[in-house]
């Protein structure tokens, strides 16, 4: 079947729920696995239809293995039972044992659970397909299954209790590992260290919210506190997702980019609908967006810029709904967060040039969170507070920007106290400067200067050239900002300055950081 027909067929199946009995009755293993994948993966199956067949086949097997493990976790009666079943399933898929795991007494009532149950009951077909993959693919999926099995076993209890404190760890170890696998499978190279954890946490929250609020099979509607915790849990890592995706490098025409864009657009649409925020054009029709991204890198950049805006809208809408006492407050006009993607990328690449990748990620996360927080604050009214009602969005902006600032400070802990003090001093100066001039630090390229200072100090590159490097990066930051401001909105969103990409990144990668001695300021 060619790719277009597959895409068309998968889209058709997305609109109607497949009959589980019909899938179960399929006698051919390949047909069964294909049908089970399409029925259970939903939008992910559409995204997979964009991929070349070798990646798609391996991805399908990996996905079905994950669903089987998920079934062991979800359908078992207790944490102990889940652990035994998970170990058995992992051993069976790796070929360490030939006895197929048999789920006992499980008769799930929910559609997606029934599908998982069906996949688990035909695990021999999944294993046989896994065995027929090329050696590299077999090895890759085998490693994925082993890692996921371990993670799920260790966090089985927390997962069953839906313990919010451990959900982050679960997301990192389980979904984060899956994201890492996907990146390896698709052969995506990145300009900087990929923040798998943030992508995974956003995806995990979407899963959990779907379970709790859409499918409703996790019990009655969740108390608002859990809902808020989950949404806040998503807002924080979501601020880092555009930066993480922005580092991906694709070929000029790329089916992989289309698949990634499709997943981004559908996930964003899910969140917007859940929160009650308006859904914009590119997210409303993910297929069109994906097709545009297939042939145009600019379309992908545009999508990421819109994504950044939408995160601000989501954050403020969540906050506003708290004040309104109901979801879907209309106070979204407060939340216009326009971030210059190219400037943000420049700053991300600076942060990630720290010699320790984990510290680089922490710094990049902190900067992204602080950036969204600063933009939320910039929309606050100048007027004095009176006894009249203030728009709900203003309260939300204050609360959420405070939360993001707190989260940024917390994120910086791995960098050490000197970096933390420098960051805090910068924000004090930024507040004073904004009060005096009304301009954001982005405008003055000061974030780039701060990052240069932190990176050079942390990397131990002291010497005379520090001030020059800092000043040059500050000028570049200012230049990016101005280029963005002088363009039309459409052009602003696109990578319309390819020359800068070529001039800035090598500039960072080569001479200045490695060789320039600086003074520790």
């Amino acid at each position: 079947m060619n790719s277009v027909r597959r895409l068309w067929r998968t889209l058709g199946q997305l609109r109607r729920r497949a009959d589980i009995r019909q899938i179960a009755a399929l006698p051919d293993p390949d047909q069964f696995l294909d049908a089970a994948f399409t029925a259970s993966a939903g939008n992910l199956a559409v995204a997979a239809a964009f991929l070349p067949s070798s990646s798609r086949i391996e991805g399908t097997v990996a996905y079905l293995c994950c669903r089987a493990l998920d079934a062991c976790e979800d359908l078992a009666g207790s944490a102990e039972e889940a652990e035994i079943l998970l170990r058995h399933c992992t051993a069976y898929l790796s070929g360490a044992c030939d006895c197929e795991p048999a789920p006992k007494g499980m008769l799930p009532g929910h559609y997606s659970d029934q599908l998982e149950h069906l996949i688990l009951s035909r695990l021999c077909w999944v294993r046989s397909k896994l065995g027929r993959l090329p050696a590299l693919g077999r090895q890759r999926v085998g490693k994925l299954v082993a890692d996921l099995g371990d993670g799920m076993v260790q966090l089985a209890e927390a997962r069953r209790a839906r313990d919010t404190k451990h959900m982050g760890e679960y997301a990192d170890r389980v979904l984060g590992r899956t994201v890492k696998y996907s990146v390896e499978l698709l052969g995506i190279r990145s300009r900087w260290t990929i923040d798998y954890g943030s992508i995974a946490r956003v995806a995990q929250t979407a899963n959990d919210l779907r379970d709790r609020h859409v499918d409703g099979h996790a019990g009655p509607a969740s108390p608002p506190q859990i809902f808020l915790t989950m949404l806040l849990g998503a807002v924080e890592p979501a601020t880092n997702v555009p930066g993480a995706l922005s580092g991906f490098q694709f070929s000029k025409v790329s089916r992989v980019r289309a698949a990634v864009a499709y997943v981004v657009a559908t996930s964003t649409r899910f969140y917007l609908r859940l929160i009650g925020a308006p859904v914009n054009k590119s997210v409303q029709s993910p297929l069109r967006t994906a097709l545009a991204c297939m042939i145009s890198a600019r379309a992908f950049t545009r999508l990421l810029i819109e994504l950044e805006d939408l995160i601000g809208v989501c954050a403020t809408t969540v906050g506003s709904s708290l004040f309104a006492g109901k979801s879907g407050s209309p106070a979204v006009e407060q939340a216009s967060v326009r971030v210059n993607r190219q400037l943000a990328d420049f700053e991300t690449s600076l942060a990630l040039s720290l010699s320790s990748p984990s510290a680089g990620l922490a710094l990049s996360r902190a900067v992204e969170m602080a950036r969204i927080g600063t933009h939320l604050r910039a929309n606050l009214p100048v007027a004095r507070l009176t006894s009249d009602e203030m728009p709900d969005g203003s309260h939300a902006s204050v609360l959420l920007s405070d939360y993001l600032f707190g989260a940024a400070v917390f994120a910086l802990e791995p960098l050490g106290l000197a970096a933390l003090a420098g960051f805090a001093d910068f924000f004090a100066a930024e507040a004073e400067n904004s009060e005096r001039t009304g301009a954001l630090a982005d405008e003055r390229g000061e974030v780039a200067a701060l990052l240069t200072r932190i990176v050079m100090s942390e990397n131990g590159q002291y010497g005379q050239g520090a001030a020059a490097t800092e000043s040059r990066n500050q000028s570049l930051g200012r230049l990016y900002y101005r280029l963005d401001r002088t363009k039309r909105p459409q052009a602003r969103m696109s990578s319309s300055h390819p020359g800068l990409d070529h001039c800035v990144v090598p500039l960072l990668q080569s001479a200045p950081m490695a060789s320039m001695p600086i003074q520790n300021r």
Binding site: P224, L322, R384, L385, M390, L420, A421, A431
Partner: protein, 325 residues
């Protein structure tokens, strides 16, 4: 540094903290006027006192004494910054006998003031921790902001759940800074005496103190303080279920009715006054005050247990003094 009945000693200590705040704030530039105005009406500086009491600084080495004042100043700056933002969120026009920063200088300026103060506080703490190798949990800011967000949620589905949430809010909004203050004080005291004070006991003591103070603050919010501080019933006007209201709700047949009434209170002065009268007429205020006291007593008993450790004999005296203060 015992200050039970020793008002003069406390005043002197607070004067040192004010000096340290001035030094940490530096030149506030465009924010100097609102910050100066804010500082002209300082609060009780409870967190500072708590830190200084735990640190037992009066007999200590000069550099540790200075460090304690700097740490206290940092915590006060974070606290003051959070109060400025609180006033925006609560729409409070009055704070400590004068118009709030947001009402006087505008919402955006107030926000800048809050960020400036908190950021300077964090910077001071980070520098201090670096110099003296102190352990500081910087998650405190996130916890504080999260508690503020929690407070704005619609009420829970049951009274029990609401009570659990109220406790979490208390521990985040008030307790977090109390714990930070006490923990820093204990670390400084440990550096002085060479002994380690049990951090869990210090945390429990500070958390109980924080709960006691927050409940007392909720009680005071319902009492008429219009001539002295901010107008009574601010919590009710924002539809918040404060601690006395929780006690009143226990006496009501249905939690859902209480929830409906609280939501009706948002911005509705008449309904607020009516509900306030009912809460005052019930025994809810007394019960809330008793609960606050029970937290205070628990804090005292924790302090006594800390005090039994060598070198800390002064601590129970300290907490008693703080409470009397």
């Amino acid at each position: 540094m015992p200050c039970g009945g020793q008002q003069e000693v406390c005043r002197e200590a607070i004067a040192h903290v004010e000096q340290a705040i001035s030094a940490s704030l530096g030149n506030c530039g465009a924010l100097a006027v609102p910050i100066l105005r804010m500082r002209s009406a300082p609060g009780k500086r409870l967190r500072s006192l708590l830190l200084l009491e735990f640190a037992s600084v009066e007999c200590g080495r000069a550099e540790l004494k200075q460090a304690a004042f700097r740490a206290a100043a940092a915590i006060e700056m974070i606290h003051e910054g959070s109060l400025v933002h609180d006033d925006i969120v609560d729409r409070s026009l009055v704070r400590r006998h004068q118009t709030s920063t947001a009402a006087e200088f505008g919402v955006r300026t107030a926000n800048h003031v809050g960020i400036y103060l908190v950021a300077r506080g964090v910077s001071t703490l980070a520098s201090l921790a670096r110099e003296l190798n102190l352990q500081i949990e910087f998650a405190v800011l996130k916890r504080l902001a999260y508690a503020q967000l929690l407070e704005c949620l619609p009420p829970e589905i049951s009274l029990q759940a609401q009570r659990a949430r109220a406790t979490e809010i208390m521990d985040g909004k008030t307790g977090a800074l109390f714990v930070l203050a006490a923990g820093l004080g204990a670390q400084l005291a440990g550096m002085q005496s060479g002994s380690i004070i049990d951090p869990d006991a210090v945390k429990a003591c500070a958390l109980n103190l924080g709960r006691g103070f927050q409940i007392r603050d909720d009680v005071l919010d319902l009492m008429d303080r219009s001539k002295t501080e901010r107008p009574a019933g601010t919590d009710l006007r924002n539809g918040l279920c404060s601690w006395p209201v929780l006690h009143w709700a226990v006496l009501q047949p249905l939690w859902s009715d209480t929830v409906a009434r609280l939501q009706h209170c948002r911005g509705n002065y008449e309904e607020c006054s009516r509900l306030k009268r009912e809460v005052l007429a019930s025994c809810a205020m007394e019960r809330a005050a008793q609960e606050a006291n029970s937290y205070f007593y628990r804090a005292v008993s924790e302090a006594k247990s800390i005090a039994r450790a060598p070198g800390n004999a002064v601590l129970d005296e300290v907490v008693n003094g703080l409470l009397l203060n």
